[in-house]
């Protein structure tokens, strides 16, 4: 492999990985706080992508930069996430993990079919969001669009890490999963924190939609299924419930996919899903996860 191909693959892997990482964060934050895998989370990317599809032309026609559409997507995704939590998940929260899981799967099917009714089954093409040139450095051609999306992804992850470490709300978000009773005694409204967690996790899916659409500008009603599944694997790989774990897992899965595709193009998804099986066999708590005996 030449150096330029290697370097380009690193960049591509980071790009894909940062997207997975942002989605994985949504899974991991929600799991961390209510011990539930929100299988509808992947579909929030689809919702974000459709919002971009409709709002990017709106921005451009009004003479505003296309990327401002991401704020519309963030708001729409956060609202959908909060509504899903309040109306679908909260009523079954005390009914046990199996009910929650089935509700999440049903919500995923519901959102995909609702999108098909509203937007049709044909794929839509999202207009270009960033239109930066490509640059060639030492024989390696890199799209600055990709560099920008990696930077956005990393900045958001860094910001999130600072938020949960330093702010009062972030500390409450860490306290609730550790001990719900003690959190209540400290004055934390647990339901409010769960709602905020859903809002943030879903908003991250909107940013992931932006990153995804920059590279693959196609929206379909079921685009969330594969993306969501791979990000879920990333979250488990890094250690579900652990925020830095989601970031690490996402970047690793992105790099693995890009490099496997380089050598064995037909195998990359098999390897991704195989990674999940290997992780569950070897270290079910994930790379950064602590062994608690409780498993997904």
């Amino acid at each position: 492999m030449t150096f330029s191909l290697f370097f380009q693959s690193i960049v591509n892997g980071l790009n894909l990985g940062a997207t997975y990482a942002l989605i994985a964060l949504g899974y991991t934050m929600v799991y961390g706080i209510i011990r539930m895998i929100n299988f509808a989370h992947g579909d929030f990317i689809m919702i974000g992508a459709y919002t971009l599809f409709y709002t990017v032309p709106l921005m451009v026609n009004n003479g505003m930069p296309a990327w401002l559409a991401v704020f519309a997507a963030i708001v729409v995704c956060a609202i959908v996430g909060v509504l899903v939590e309040i109306f679908a998940y909260r009523p079954v929260r005390k009914a046990g993990p199996m009910s929650a899981l089935i509700t999440a799967l049903a919500m995923s099917i519901f959102l995909q079919n609702l999108a098909m009714v509203l937007f049709g089954a044909r794929p839509h093409n999202v207009a270009a969001i960033f239109s930066l040139p490509s640059v060639t450095v030492a024989g390696v051609t890199i799209s600055l669009n990709v560099v920008l999306t990696i930077a956005i992804g990393l900045a958001i992850m860094l910001g999130l890490q600072l938020f949960v470490k330093k702010t009062k709300l972030g500390k409450a978000m860490r306290a609730v999963p550790q001990d719900r009773d003690a959190s209540t005694l400290m004055g934390i409204n647990v339901n409010k924190i769960i709602t905020v967690t859903f809002a943030i996790g879903s908003a991250l899916a909107a940013v992931a939609a932006l990153m995804y659409c920059t590279t693959y500008p196609r929206v379909t009603n079921n685009m969330g299924t594969t993306m969501g599944m791979k990000a879920f694997i990333a979250a488990v790989l890094g250690g579900i419930g652990v925020i830095p774990g989601a970031m690490l897992g996402g970047v690793l899965i992105g790099l693995i996919e890009v490099f496997v595709r380089l050598f064995a193009p037909g195998w990359y998804e098999a390897v991704t899903y195989g990674t999940l099986i290997v992780i569950l066999l070897v270290k079910p708590s994930g790379i950064l996860g602590r062994n608690t005996g409780e498993k997904v």
Binding site: K171, A175, Q178, D179, A182, T184, L185, G187, I188, V190
Partner: protein, 232 residues
């Protein structure tokens, strides 16, 4: 300061508390003693809203606690050191203390200095994850965290559980010191001897009923209490 009247609590079909009444006056140490499963922990958990009461009233400082959102109870300056400590294991000692001041962060650093003066061990270990502390240190942290809320009253549930005799003495000394600073205490204990020796008054709880109540010094000499709880 705290007035509980005819409180009933059910766990499904099981009646955990069958109409208990108790009063704690400003500045007192009152203890609630009794065997395992008598309902001591349930009483404290119902006062701070962690369990729902079926009937009865709980009034703290003029506020009806049954009508108060559980997460707002700390705003009334009523703190609760729960059974089993319930510290945040994945947070540092200092972050745990910060969480104690979550509802009222004004003047947090001074309060934290006071807590560190009282518990020098916590200061030494302030950057350490709370889950890695010894049982005694975790208990100190749980008490320190409650003090961070600048409470008027603290409910303490089994503070001596699982501690060595030396630490038991230390924790009871601390409870007395805290009380001397004007904080009212409702203490739940299995160690009836120790609890009665530092309390003003006490209640004996048996399977959901209060069976004996009175001055702690009288209870120490009560034949029934001696036989059942003091091993004499």
């Amino acid at each position: 300061m705290l007035e509980v009247k005819d409180l009933k609590v059910n766990y499904g079909a099981v009646q955990a508390l069958d109409g208990i009444s108790l009063t704690v006056n400003d500045g007192e140490i009152v203890s609630l003693i009794g065997a395992n499963g008598a309902g001591k922990t349930t009483t404290l958990r119902t006062i701070t809203g962690l369990e729902k009461a079926a009937s009865g009233s709980i009034v703290f400082d003029g506020h009806d606690l049954r009508k108060t959102e559980p997460s707002k109870i700390i705003n009334l300056k009523l703190a609760h050191v729960p059974e089993g400590r319930h510290i945040f294991p994945e947070m540092t000692v200092e972050e745990n203390l910060e969480m104690g001041a979550y509802a009222d962060p004004v003047g947090m650093s001074e309060t934290m200095q006071d807590v560190y003066t009282r518990f020098p061990r916590l200061k030494e270990r302030r950057r350490q994850l709370a889950g890695t502390l010894s049982g005694g240190e975790q208990q100190m942290l749980a008490v320190g965290r409650a003090l961070m809320a600048k409470p008027k009253m603290i409910l303490m549930d089994e503070p001596s559980m699982g501690l060595s005799p030396l630490l038991v003495q230390e924790i009871f000394d601390i409870i007395q010191e805290v009380n001397k600073q004007g904080i009212t205490i409702l203490l739940v204990e299995q160690n009836a001897q120790m609890a009665l020796s530092i309390s003003d008054r006490a209640y004996v709880l048996e399977t959901g009923h209060i069976t004996i109540q009175g001055k702690a010094s009288d209870l120490l000499n009560d034949e029934r209490v001696k036989k059942a709880y003091l091993g004499q």
